[in-house]
């Protein structure tokens, strides 16, 4: 069997439905309890955390800005 390449895995992942993709992530989350994830598996879980929600305001890089006492 030919070893899967990252590009091939990404291509296949892109073809999955949202539900199938969720199942894949859950599989990798379960796998992570048993053994360290491979680099490619880690990248797949990482990419699932990346959000495309638009930002109204860019993040501050400075921790002191996150602790403003503005009541929010």
């Amino acid at each position: 069997m030919t070893p899967a390449t990252l590009d091939h895995i990404i291509e296949l992942t892109d073809q999955l439905s949202a539900l199938e993709r969720q199942a894949l992530i859950e599989h990798l989350q379960a796998a992570a309890q048993e053994r360290p994830l491979t680099d490619d598996e880690w990248d797949t879980v990482f990419d699932s955390v990346v959000s495309d929600i638009r930002l109204d305001q860019d993040f501050s890089d400075h921790r002191h800005d996150w602790y403003n006492d503005d009541g929010k």
Binding site: Q29, W42, V49, S51, I53, R54, R63, H64
Partner: protein
């Protein structure tokens, strides 16, 4: 010790890099995501802490930053995945003791305590490299830890 590491055992991911790496609309998103993926390959373990998770939640739940702030259930899904990606350091009594020691060596204003607590957490967990987008504030600790960033150092 700024920006010169290659192979090491543990690296700590600062909240600012985590936020930029996980939001495609953030400035420097591509650079931050690439830095994290590279760090995953260069270090045996990537760490965050309970403090980093709280700060991530502050930024993603707070009105005015994300155009649609995360719901509590969405935040829970995100954090469950972050806990798969990273080892999570606890706020322990040893961290508090280390924090108090560092505050004597690196005195600063009130809010700088939060930066200092990151360094205390790293030292207690024997993590020598901080992956951060805030070189400006963290470089004062560069005698204790190495700093890595996508920014020029």
């Amino acid at each position: 010790m700024i920006g010169t590491t290659t192979m090491a055992s543990k690296a700590f991911v600062d909240t600012n890099v985590l936020l930029r790496a996980t939001h495609a609309d953030a400035d420097m998103h591509i650079q931050a995501a690439r830095l994290l993926k590279q760090a995953r390959r260069n270090y045996h373990e990537l760490w965050v802490s309970r403090q980093v998770i709280r700060e991530y939640l502050v930024n993603t739940l707070r009105p005015g930053i994300l155009s649609i702030p995360l719901s509590a259930s969405e935040a829970a899904v995100r954090v469950s995945r972050l806990r798969v990606l990273f080892s999570v350091a606890d706020d322990t009594d040893d961290v508090t003791t280390q924090l108090l020691s560092l505050l004597q060596r690196f005195p600063g204003g009130g809010k700088q305590v939060h930066d200092t607590n990151i360094i205390a957490t790293m030292l207690v967990n024997k993590i020598d490299t901080l992956v951060t987008a805030d070189i400006e504030d963290m470089k004062r600790f560069s005698t204790l830890i190495k700093l890595r960033s996508y920014l020029p150092t």
